[in-house]
């Protein structure tokens, strides 16, 4: 009986080892799939959805615009959505897709886009 339990436990452990964990994506790839749709392929706010939004998506390449926001603001806007920082509700909360670490990477990536 003990042997069987040990075998079952071993198989379960092996299963856990083999199961791949969720892949942490690069900020560049996350930006491409999730942000291009509104902020555009250049990050300048010219995404294919921009015309449908009552508030223009932020131009991530504008240092003037981006300097108005703290890193904490940006992190919260991405994680909890625009409404959480009194901005547009068209910016949804991305926490069901992006991990905190991925959002932190995204904040750094945005600094690269605005060169600020």
């Amino acid at each position: 009986m003990k042997k069987v339990s040990l075998m079952v436990l071993s198989v379960m452990f092996l299963g856990l080892m083999i199961t791949p964990l969720a892949v942490a994506e690069k900020a560049e790839d996350n930006y491409k799939l999730y942000c291009f749709q509104c902020h555009g392929s250049k990050g300048s706010g010219g995404g294919i959805n921009a015309a449908a939004l009552s508030t223009a998506p932020r131009d991530h390449t504008s240092a003037t615009e981006m300097k108005k926001l703290t890193d904490e603001n940006i992190f919260t806007a991405i994680k909890e959505g625009g409404a959480a920082v009194s901005k547009s509700t068209f910016m949804p909360p991305w926490k069901s897709i992006l991990t905190d670490d991925e959002i932190k990477d995204m904040v750094k990536y945005l600094h690269g886009l605005c060169k600020c």
Binding site: P20, Q37, A50, A52, L53, W94, I97
Partner: protein, 229 residues
């Protein structure tokens, strides 16, 4: 005498039923064979699991079909398979079909599915696709009754900003996601409810994040979408 009549009626009914079920199974088999011979699986994922990485999503050519039987209405499927229309204005994975214009991105050349089945073939394939269910989806949740359309519209357009990514009218709304102005004809409301509650259950990397709403609000949205015809 009365009981004999009842017995005969029951036998006739059972015969009709078994013939109906038999026909349906035969159609499913023909549909499966058609899906294989037409190589639908070369563009569509016909079996789970869904893509788990962005790299895999970017290789996607057409929408996943392994839960088509939960997602679609069979009448719509039959029509679509005969004469496909554009559901996603920017294609299956929008990011693969955009190009930078002068100041903003533009949608490149996007074409609908090439399926052009006959009426009978479309029926058979639809019957087969309807067998592909999401086992965890509850049915009979969204009932066709009165609801506050005004409240649902506020959720859709203002609070959750759905129209930012989805076309809610033929000429307005976003283009990175499926059109919704005709979704009532296309989608099973129970699936819409289930998908809204957790889009990542169906597609972990889909560019629509999960919202934290009450079941009541998700139901309102599902009913509003069901009314879009």
């Amino acid at each position: 005498m009365k009981s004999l009549k009842l017995l005969i009626s029951l036998i006739v009914f059972a015969l009709f039923l078994s013939v109906g079920i038999g026909n349906s199974i035969a159609d499913e088999k023909k549909g499966k064979a058609l899906v294989e011979s037409k190589k639908c699986g070369s563009c569509h994922k016909m079996q789970g699991p869904p893509d788990k990485t962005i790299a895999d999503v970017l290789k996607r050519k057409a929408p996943d079909l392994f839960y088509a039987g939960s997602k679609f209405k069979i009448e719509w499927l039959e029509g679509f398979l005969q004469k496909p229309t554009m559901i996603r204005p920017a294609g299956t994975v929008y990011v693969n079909n955009i190009k930078m214009g002068e100041k903003k991105d533009e949608i490149g050349d996007v074409k609908p599915c090439t399926s052009a089945l006959s009426k009978d073939e479309a029926h058979e394939v639809a019957e087969y696709l309807m067998t592909m269910k999401e086992p965890t989806m509850k049915t009979g949740v969204i009932v066709d009754d009165k609801f506050s359309k005004a409240k649902a519209k506020v959720l859709f357009g203002q609070k959750e900003g759905c129209s930012g990514c989805h076309r809610d009218k033929a000429d307005s709304g976003g283009t990175s996601c499926p059109t919704l102005y005709n979704a009532g004809e296309r989608l099973n409301p129970d699936w819409v409810f289930d998908f809204l509650k957790n889009p990542q259950k169906y597609d972990p990397k889909i560019w629509m994040p999960r919202r934290e709403l009450s079941d009541e609000d998700f139901m309102l949205l599902a009913k509003l979408i069901a009314s879009m015809k």
